[in-house]
């Protein structure tokens, strides 16, 4: 819960200097979306990473909502987390192999209803796509409910440095190995 208080402090500092201090809000929202600290509990943040939220105006409501909800002791308990990879997609469901991020060890197979994928993530649902799945008890605004959250991963497109690295690697492997 220390993260929670730090976030609240961060909000206080941000508001005391005005919401034009977008960098603090960025940090605030980034921490809020951090898988390791606070799983997303709001429709706005499900399936969304801070680095793909393009508009500053889109970031603010998340922070405001968090500030409002932070009047209560909001947290997730008894959580279990997996990293999944989509193996097949059917009419109403998709199948995945799951890697246990909580306990490690062996992998699992599971099937999910397509309805569990948020609208924002539907375009990311493809064979081979990676996603996080978290389940647990959400303690939100004094209420306890069971939650299942699926968030598909977003990785930025390759930049120039990536392409440089790719070509350097090709050159290195081509020249250093003896090919027959």
């Amino acid at each position: 819960m220390s993260t929670f208080f730090n976030l609240t402090d961060g909000w206080s500092k941000a508001t005391s200097k005005g919401i034009t201090e977008i960098e603090q809000i960025d940090e605030f929202v980034k921490a809020y979306n951090d898988e390791d600290h606070c799983p997303p509990l709001t429709p706005w943040s499900i399936g969304r990473d801070s680095n793909v939220v393009n508009s500053d105006f889109e970031r603010i409501p998340q922070a405001i909502l968090y500030r409002q909800s932070s009047m209560y002791d909001n947290y997730f308990s008894k959580t279990q987390r997996w990293l999944g990879h989509v193996t097949s997609i059917n009419d109403a469901s998709f199948s995945a192999v799951l890697q246990d991020l909580t306990a490690g060890g062996t992998n699992e197979l599971a099937e999910f209803d397509l309805e569990e994928v948020s609208d924002e993530d539907v375009e990311l649902l493809q064979k081979g796509a990676a996603f996080y799945w978290s389940i647990g008890y959400s303690h939100e605004n004094g209420q306890i409910s069971k939650k299942s959250i699926i968030r598909f991963r977003r990785i930025p497109a390759f930049n120039q440095a990536d392409y440089d690295e790719i070509l350097d690697r090709v050159s290195e492997l081509k020249n250093s190995l003896i090919w027959d």
């Binding site: 008894k78 069971k146 390759f158 090709v170 492997l173 090919w179």
Partner: protein, 360 residues
């Protein structure tokens, strides 16, 4: 278990259930060849190296590492194998256009900067990088090619065919522009590119089927070997068979038994407990019509949820999710034979969960 005796050859199959398989060959009294790699989940150390160390073998004597294809169950840990086996050459199937091939795997590998689990080529490029550090030899596997030739022991690639690799060239041309950092690259025909292997040991021979399947086109897969191979056929039959593709129906053709194998061959396979699971019990029945020497590295494993904290189990159940564990079940089947004794037969050593399959 001890290392093979002088004059003996060995073919060992390691299976893990849903986490892959690996084969080790001991040939010409001194050389080891490792085909494919698998690891224990959570441990991540190659089972092949674990085995060699357990019998006191010298890793410097591993002369060749073969990657039959890039499926995770055949490649996990192979870069560690290349790293530790400092004298090993590395053999794999690749597109003819080397530069295009390297660009594809390098681009796929680049995704690991953002998400290691999204890169299908991680192990493969790590292997090439390890090999490059010592200016090692990268050998292309292709039908009819000899991969090892020492004394009276020879190892040949029976696949992939030229036709298959031309198709791979075309596939790469389509895959490269669409490389998407968010998803694993889905290659369409990896099993067709599997490297099936014929091992000649003195007067004995073995056929190792990798994950090769039967295609409707006799220019690729098993039909290509049966109809067009320059290595097998013409009475050159094997007495040991590593059944292809975990005993699946699409890896089977009765002509394999009729034309490439002696009657009642020692046959071994690794089960695959993902999805519907392999082999289908019906297929085991089919294999038992060809041999009464059928071995598996592990028994069938019924599907069940993973054991975890009771409160989490209860939560999963209450939310109506049905999860099934991909169980880790390791088994080792070692087969040894005297290289120069034409009358010798394979001695089978079963370890851990491996078993002989009997008629019901």
């Amino acid at each position: 278990m001890n290392a093979p005796l002088y004059g003996e050859a060995e073919i060992t199959l390691i299976g893990t259930g849903g986490y892959g398989e690996s084969i080790l060959l001991f040939l010409n009294n001194e050389d080891w060849i490792i085909i494919d790699s698998c690891v224990e989940p959570g441990n991540n150390y190659p089972a092949s190296l674990q085995y060699l160390k357990s019998i006191g073998a010298n890793l410097d004597k591993v002369v060749l590492v073969i990657c039959t294809h890039w499926h995770n169950d055949h490649i996990r840990g192979i870069s560690q194998v290349i790293k530790e086996c400092i004298n090993a050459q590395f053999c794999f199937s690749r597109a003819h256009d080397r530069e295009k091939f390297l660009y594809f795997v390098s681009s796929d590998y680049q995704k690991s900067n953002y998400d290691r689990l999204n890169s299908s080529s991680l192990e493969f490029v790590d292997s090439l990088t390890e090999l490059a550090k010592r200016s090692g030899r990268a050998i292309t596997a292709l039908e009819n090619k000899i991969l090892y030739n020492q004394g009276n022991c020879h190892v040949y690639a029976l696949s992939p065919s030229e036709f298959t690799m031309e198709a791979f060239d075309n596939e790469l041309a389509q895959l490269i522009p669409g490389i998407n950092p968010n998803i694993k690259a889905i290659r369409q025909t990896p099993n067709a590119r599997s490297v099936a292997i014929y091992v000649k040991i003195g007067e004995h021979a073995a056929l190792l089927g990798a994950d090769l399947e039967v295609s409707s086109n006799n220019k690729e897969g098993w039909l290509n070997i049966l109809d067009n191979s320059l290595v097998v056929g013409n009475g050159k039959k094997a007495s040991l068979f590593k059944i292809s593709h975990h005993g699946s129906g699409n890896g089977y053709h009765e002509r394999i038994f009729q034309e490439l194998l002696h009657p009642n061959p020692v046959s071994k396979l690794t089960p695959w407990n993902k999805a519907d699971g392999l082999p289908d019990p019906q297929m085991l029945g089919v294999y038992l019509t060809h041999t009464d020497q059928l071995y598996m590295t592990a028994p069938y494993i019924s599907k069940s949820p993973k054991k975890r904290d009771k409160s989490i189990e209860k939560l999963i159940k209450s939310m109506n999710y049905e999860l099934s564990e991909i169980k880790y079940k390791k088994g080792i089947i070692s087969c040894r034979i005297k290289i120069d004794d034409i009358g010798d037969t394979w001695r089978i050593i079963l370890r851990e969960n491996s078993l002989k399959v009997e008629h019901d």
